[in-house]
């Protein structure tokens, strides 16, 4: 730990100590209009946020991890206050356990990724039901194996700035969230997964609309689906799993959730994240090929004829008609 941080730590401890003399102020301050989504009530905390912010409101506060990565330790108080946890009246120490007056434990992690995996364990203390769903998912299985590529809670939800995931904004922007990993060429190649899922989604009816909403009116509800509407949220399973809502056998049922009365052949109207080719959606591929030749031929022919006509008129200028 660098010297300035050490000095600040002393300050924190002093402040914490004085705070505890005033009694457990924080215990009484939680209270919110929010419907609780967590299972357990956080235990009353003894350290008020102000104490932590004495140091952590410093924008330059950071820590160098053994991996050489820098971990910023700055917390934006306003951002946290606006977050779903800030609104619910949670305290720093509601999540940062083990921080008591006179106690400021070290993180004990090698790198940033390990730290975020560790953080996910904290979330399950309150969100146990969601965590159970997650652990059973394709992402959770990889998480349980300690795979550092796994998205954890904070990768999608954020940390101190967690927005309400039920807000329309969160929903219409969620495909971009999935795309941060699923459009990453190197990362997807590692697992043999297509990196075109976002591009092909945006190219189709659903994604075109959702992206327009995300860009122009993110707070307006749209009836078009985002990734999680078909694939699931915390319970996402592999697309080749027989239980998957998007595997061919189950797809018509998934479509029917929005398209009542859809015939099994309606499923073919969705290009299943494939860019049209001779193997996948050949008719669409051939239509594109036809117009790639037809448009230049027609417009080219027109331009030549118009050009010749204009030249003729220019050549005959001044002649009596």
């Amino acid at each position: 730990m660098s010297t300035p941080v050490g000095r600040r730590l002393t300050l924190v401890l002093a402040a914490t100590f004085s705070a505890v003399l005033l009694g457990s102020v924080a215990a009484a301050t939680s209270g919110s209009a929010f419907a609780p989504v967590f299972q357990a009530t956080p235990t009353p905390q003894a350290v008020p946020n102000e104490v932590c912010l004495t140091c952590h409101s410093n924008q330059n506060l950071s820590l160098t991890l053994p991996s050489g990565e820098t971990l910023r330790l700055f917390v934006d108080e306003e951002q946290f206050a606006a977050s779903v946890h800030g609104q619910a009246g949670l305290q720093c120490v509601s999540c940062h356990r083990g921080y008591l007056p006179g106690q400021h434990p070290t993180l004990g992690v090698e790198n940033r990724r390990e730290w975020s995996l560790q953080a996910a364990q904290v979330c399950q203390d309150c969100h146990a039901d969601v965590f159970q769903e997650f652990i059973a998912s394709v992402h959770g299985a990889s998480f349980a194996q300690g795979n550092l590529d796994t998205p954890t809670c904070s990768d999608c939800h954020g940390i101190h700035n967690i927005p309400d995931p039920h807000l329309e904004q969160f929903r219409v922007r969620s495909p971009q969230l999935c795309a941060t990993c699923h459009a990453d060429t190197a990362l997807m190649a590692k697992y043999g997964i297509s990196r075109n899922v976002f591009e092909t989604y945006v190219a189709d009816f659903h994604g075109t609309t959702v992206e327009l909403f995300a860009r122009t009116a993110p707070d307006q509800p749209t009836n078009k689906p985002v990734c999680i509407d078909c694939h699931g949220v915390h319970d996402i399973i592999a697309t080749d799993d027989p239980e998957s809502p998007v595997i061919k056998a189950n797809l018509v049922e998934t479509c029917q959730r929005c398209h009542a009365g859809a015939d099994p052949s309606f499923v073919g109207a969705w290009t299943s994240h494939y860019a049209p080719s001779l193997e996948q959606y050949p008719l669409t591929f051939l239509v594109n090929l036809f117009y790639a030749l037809f448009i230049p031929a027609v417009i080219g022919g027109m331009v030549v004829l118009v050009g010749i006509d204009a030249y003729g008129r220019w050549r005959r200028r001044g002649e009596t008609r």
Binding site: C258, A262, V267, Y281, V287, F294, V306, A310, G312
Partner: protein, 268 residues
């Protein structure tokens, strides 16, 4: 028209059809082209300006129906001219049109002394007319496929829908560029031909652009007698009205599909 004699080239019905096309084509292009390029800055701005994507789609569907109905009316109007008025099929492409194209190119390059002699419609006009027939047919079919995918896929394979979407977008682009290159050049830039607005064309223009038609009109073409017209109208008009009404009902039934729920179910 005392000093300069003129002839009637387009009647009121023809001119009304042209206006229906001008309005529906322009608004369809304005609401459709930004949907094809939905993620480019200018398209997003235009969609915003027109009231958002849902409004743009509603307008597009509305003017699409207007254009389809114009097509239906056109079929009835052509039928009237051919059956009741016994009008020759001036618009049919003939070998002479290809010859005229060749003469015109040679004339413009200074290789032929005379410009081609055209009938009622020149090869440029015929080309544009049939391009429009082709375009309107493709756009109607592919547009309806996208509008009522649930019904279409009860009969046809699902892949027709994305294929229709691809064709609709490309054909639209072709139509807009063709109008800008071909139509704007021939009737605005080369010479502002206003006959489609007031219906008349001066005799000198007729001699210049449509010499064969001018000769035909001077010779006094054989017109059906008022009695003949009256008799054929009594048969044709109810038939045409029935056709238009049936097409109207058919289109309204087709476009009324509830493709998707309007409000999505709550997140699981």
């Amino acid at each position: 028209m005392s000093a300069l004699k003129s002839v009637v080239r387009f009647n009121l019905s023809d001119r009304l059809e042209h206006w229906l096309l001008v309005v529906s084509f322009t608004l369809l292009a304005l609401t459709g082209i930004p949907q094809k390029f939905a993620h480019q800055g200018w398209a997003v701005a235009l969609i915003q300006l027109l009231g958002g994507i849902e409004m743009v789609r509603t307008l597009h569907h509305l003017f699409g129906v207007v254009m389809i109905l114009e097509g239906v009316y056109h079929i009835a109007a052509v039928g009237y001219k051919v059956y009741v008025r016994r009008s020759p099929l001036f618009m049919l492409p003939r070998l002479k049109d290809l010859q005229n194209l060749w003469i015109s190119v040679r004339h413009n390059l200074g290789l032929a002394p005379q410009r081609p002699a055209s009938g009622r419609y020149s090869y440029e006009e015929k080309f544009e007319y049939w391009a429009l027939v082709w375009g309107l047919t493709i756009m109607t079919i592919t547009g309806l496929f996208m509008l009522i995918p649930l019904r279409v896929t009860q009969i046809f394979p699902g892949e027709l829908i994305p294929a229709a979407k691809a064709a609709h977008g490309w054909e639209a682009l072709l139509a807009v560029v063709a109008i800008i290159v071909w139509h704007v050049y021939h009737v605005h830039l080369r010479h502002f031909n206003q006959s489609i607005f007031h219906g008349r064309m001066s005799e000198s223009e007729m001699i210049e652009e449509h010499s064969l038609e001018h000769e035909r009109l001077r010779a006094g073409p054989l017109e059906p007698t008022p009695q003949e017209v009256q008799r054929r109208r009594r048969l044709y008009l109810p038939l045409a009205a029935g056709f238009v009404i049936l097409a109207l009902i058919g289109i309204l039934l087709l476009v009324s599909e509830q493709t998707a729920i309007t409000t999505r179910p709550p997140l699981p």
